[in-house]
C-alpha cells in the first residue's frame, strides 16, 4: 500500500475517532438530560398517586386514576391491577411484567394501535395490588432520534472530510519528500551538484532540505579535497621517487665502492623522506576523519609548550634566532590529544625556525580567553603575503619549491588537520613583520559519536 494512501487513511481514521468522541459526549449528555426529566415527572406522579392511596384508600385512588384519565393526556400511563392480574382502573391494554421500581418498557395503551416506549413506576400496594403510573416518552425519544440521526450524518461527513484532508496532506508531504528523493536519486546517479529546493517558509521540510544541502556541500568539499590530494600526492611523489630511482640506478652502475656506499645511503634517505610524506598524509586524513579522539585526555598546555620550547631552543639558537616562551603563571588545562598537539606545535615552531630565523626572534605564547585556548608561534621573518596564505596551508602547498631538502609542505596542513580534530582552527596572520600562526582550540571539544 503506497504511503500516500496510508497517510490519508490514518488522517481519516484519526478525524473519525476524534469526532466520535465529541459526538458520543453530546449524545450521552442529551440522552441523559431527556431521560432524567421524564424520570422526574414520572416519580412525582407516582408519589402523588401513592399519597392519594395512603390517605384515601383504594376508592380514592381509583377516583384519582379516573380523574387523570379524564384529562385525556395521550402520554399518561396509569393503571391499578389487583392480585389476580385484573385491571381495576387505567388505560393499559396489557400489563407488563411485574417488578417494583422505575424502568423504561414498551407498553400498549388501550385504544391505541401500536405499543410505545414509556417510562413507568410500579408500586406494590399492601393488598397485593399493583399501581402502575408513567408517561409515554414520545416527544423526548423523537428528539433523541433526530439528534441521533444528525449525529450519525455528522460522523460520516467528518470521516469523509478527514479522509479528504488526509489525501491532501499526504499529497503535500509526498510532494515535499519527493523533491528530496529526486535530488537523492540524481546524486546516486553521480551528479553531486544537485541541491534540494528550499522554500522561504522555513518549515521542517525546509530545515531538512537545508541540512541535506549543507551535508552535500561538505561531501562535495571533501571529495574535491580528496581529488586535490591524490592529484598532488601523485605529482609530488614523482620527484622524490625519480631521485630515489636514479640514485639506485647509479649505485648499481658504479664500480667505485665509496661512491656506491654514498649512493646507497642516498637511496635510504630518499625512501625515508617518501615514508615521511606518506605517514604525514595518513596522519592528516586520520585527523580530518576525527580518529584519535578516544586518546583525548586532560593535560596542561602551558607545560607542553614549555617542553617544546626547551626542545627547540638549541635548534633556533643554531640558526641564529632566539626562542622566547612566555609561560603563563597558571596551568592551562586542555582536553585533547597531547602527542598530536605536540606535533602540531612543533610543526609551527619548525616552520618558524626554518623560514623566520633570519628575523632574530621567535616567540611562543599560550593564553586562554573564555573557553578558547590559543597557542601562538610568531617569527620576524619574511612572513606570508595575504594572497598566498590559503596556498600555504594546503597540502604540498610549499611556497618556495626550490627547498626540496626540508619538509614536503605538509607541516601547516597537518597542524590545521590537528586543529580540526580538536574543533579548532589554524589562523595565519601578519606579525608585522613576520608570520604569526595561531592554533585556536576550545578547552573541551564537542563530543561526537
Amino acid at each position: 500500500m503506497p504511503t500516500t494512501i496510508r497517510i490519508a487513511l490514518l488522517a481519516g481514521l484519526l478525524a473519525l475517532l476524534s469526532n466520535l468522541a465529541v459526538i458520543g459526549f453530546i449524545y450521552a449528555r442529551t440522552h441523559d438530560d431527556a431521560v432524567a426529566s421524564i424520570h422526574r415527572q414520572v416519580d412525582e406522579q407516582a408519589k402523588v398517586l401513592s399519597d392519594v392511596y395512603r390517605t384515601g384508600g383504594k376508592a380514592a385512588l381509583i377516583n384519582a386514576i379516573e380523574d387523570t384519565l379524564d384529562y385525556a393526556d395521550p402520554q399518561t400511563v396509569v393503571a391499578l391491577i389487583d392480585s389476580s392480574g385484573k385491571e381495576l382502573s387505567g388505560n393499559l391494554a396489557s400489563a407488563p411484567s411485574f417488578q417494583e421500581g422505575y424502568r423504561t418498557s414498551v407498553i400498549r395503551l388501550r385504544g391505541q394501535p401500536s405499543p410505545h416506549q414509556a417510562a413507568i413506576v410500579m408500586q406494590r400496594l399492601p393488598r397485593r395490588e399493583w399501581l402502575i403510573s408513567g408517561r409515554v416518552a414520545g416527544e423526548g425519544f423523537a428528539i433523541r432520534e433526530t439528534l441521533e440521526s444528525s449525529l450519525l450524518i455528522a460522523l460520516v461527513v467528518a470521516g469523509l472530510l478527514g479522509l479528504l484532508c488526509g489525501v491532501i496532506l499526504a499529497h503535500y508531504v509526498g510532494h515535499r519528500i519527493g523533491e528530496i528523493a529526486t535530488v537523492a536519486n540524481r546524486i546516486s546517479a553521480r551528479d553531486l551538484s544537485q541541491r534540494v529546493p528550499v522554500s522561504r517558509a522555513g518549515d521542517a521540510f525546509d530545515r531538512l532540505g537545508a541540512q541535506i544541502n549543507a551535508m552535500l556541500d561538505r561531501i562535495g568539499a571533501l571529495m574535491e579535497q580528496l581529488r586535490l590530494l591524490t592529484d598532488s600526492l601523485a605529482h609530488d611523489l614523482r620527484s622524490p621517487v625519480s631521485r630515489l630511482r636514479s640514485a639506485a640506478h647509479a649505485a648499481a652502475e658504479t664500480e667505485d665502492p665509496v661512491e656506491q656506499e654514498e649512493l646507497l645511503e642516498r637511496v635510504v634517505r630518499q625512501s625515508d623522506a617518501l615514508m615521511r610524506i606518506l605517514s604525514t598524509v595518513l596522519e592528516i586524513s586520520r585527523s580530518e576523519a576525527f580518529t584519535g579522539r578516544n586518546q583525548f585526555a586532560w593535560f596542561d598546555l602551558g607545560e607542553l609548550a614549555a617542553e617544546l620550547a626547551e626542545m627547540y631552543d638549541p635548534l633556533a639558537e643554531e640558526r641564529g634566532a632566539a626562542l622566547v616562551y612566555d609561560r603563563p603563571s597558571r596551568p592551562l588545562p586542555l582536553f585533547g590529544h597531547r602527542q598530536l598537539l605536540a606535533q602540531a606545535i612543533s610543526n609551527l615552531v619548525e616552520n618558524a625556525i626554518r623560514y623566520g630565523s633570519a628575523g632574530g626572534e621567535i616567540r611562543i605564547g599560550v593564553g586562554q580567553r573564555n573557553r578558547q585556548i590559543a597557542i601562538e608561534v610568531a617569527d620576524r621573518g619574511p612572513g606570508i603575503p595575504l594572497d598566498r596564505r590559503e596556498e600555504a596551508r594546503r597540502r604540498f602547498g610549499r611556497l618556495d619549491s626550490s627547498r626540496s631538502d626540508e619538509g614536503a609542505g605538509l607541516g601547516l596542513a597537518l597542524a590545521e588537520a590537528i586543529a580540526h580534530l580538536h574543533d579548532g582552527e589554524l589562523v595565519l596572520d601578519d606579525n608585522r613583520p613576520g608570520l604569526l600562526t595561531t592554533l585556536e582550540l576550545p578547552v573541551h571539544p564537542v563530543q561526537r559519536t
Binding site: 635510504v268 605517514s279 590529544h337 602527542q339 606535533q343 619548525e350
Partner: protein
C-alpha cells in the same frame, strides 16, 4: 652473548631478513608465521625477547600481546607495524608492549631497540646499581649529579636525562627515534635535526677538554656512549 628471540612475522621476506641479521649478531631466533602459533610458543616464557608483527593471520599481534600479558608473561615485546600514525603507536604501547617500531625500518634501528630491550631485561634481573659508570664518567641517578674524571659537569635537566639514557645503554647504539621516544616521550617524526643539536650540546659539555671522547656518532644509525 647470544639470546633467545621469538620472531612472529608472516611476511617471509622480512622474517628471513630479520632472522638472518639477528643470528649474525649471535642470537638464536625461533620463528612463527601466525599469531596463534606465536602465542603458543611465547607462552613457555623461555624467550628473552619477542618481536611481534602487528598484523598477523589467525590472531593479530595486539591480541597475542594482550593474551601474553594476561597470562603474566612479562617477556619484553617489540611490536613491528605498518600502522604508522601517532594514534596507532600509542595504542600499541598501551597494550603492554615495550617498544613499537614502524615499518619500514632500518636493521640498525631494529638492532638498537632489540639490544636496548635485552639490556633492560638484564637490568631487571640484576637490580639497578647505585651509580652508572662509563670510563671516567660517573652518574648518580639519585642526586642526578654527573662527574667526569672527578670534575662535576653542569647539565640541564633534559641533558641529564639524555646522558642517563645513553649510560643505561652503554656500548649500544641508540637511534634518534629512540631518544625522541624515550627521553622526550614524543611519538612523531620531527622534520628537523632537533635531536642531533641536543646530542651535540651534550657532547660539548661531556667531551670538550678531554682526550678521549665518550659520546660517539655511529654513521647511518645514531649515537653510542662508550669508554
Amino acid at each position: 652473548m647470544g639470546r633467545k628471540i621469538l620472531l612472529v612475522e608472516d611476511d617471509r621476506e622480512t622474517a628471513s631478513y630479520l632472522a638472518k641479521g639477528l643470528t649474525q649478531e649471535g642470537h638464536s631466533v625461533e620463528q612463527a608465521t601466525n599469531g596463534q602459533d606465536g602465542l603458543f610458543r611465547a607462552t613457555d616464557g623461555s624467550f628473552d625477547l619477542v618481536i611481534l608483527d602487528r598484523m598477523l593471520p589467525v590472531l593479530d599481534g595486539l591480541s597475542v600481546l594482550k593474551a601474553l600479558r594476561a597470562a603474566h608473561i612479562d617477556t619484553p615485546v617489540l611490536i613491528l607495524s605498518a600502522l604508522a600514525s601517532v594514534g596507532d603507536r600509542i595504542d600499541g604501547l598501551e597494550c603492554g608492549s615495550d617498544d613499537y617500531l614502524v615499518k619500514p625500518f632500518s636493521f640498525a634501528e631494529l638492532l638498537a631497540r632489540v639490544n636496548a630491550l635485552l639490556r633492560r631485561r638484564e637490568a631487571r634481573v640484576d637490580p639497578a646499581e647505585r651509580r652508572l659508570m662509563v670510563g671516567d664518567l660517573e652518574i648518580d641517578p639519585l642526586s642526578r649529579s654527573v662527574k667526569r674524571a672527578g670534575k662535576k659537569l653542569d647539565l640541564k635537566p633534559r641533558e641529564y636525562l639524555l646522558l642517563e639514557y645513553f649510560a643505561r645503554n652503554e656500548g649500544r647504539v641508540v637511534t634518534r627515534t629512540m631518544l625522541l621516544e624515550q627521553v622526550w616521550d614524543y611519538h612523531f617524526d620531527p622534520g628537523t635535526n632537533v635531536i642531533d643539536v641536543h646530542v651535540s650540546r651534550l657532547r660539548r659539555k661531556l667531551d670538550e677538554g678531554f682526550d678521549k671522547p665518550l659520546l660517539h656518532t655511529v654513521r647511518g644509525a645514531g649515537y653510542m656512549l662508550a669508554a
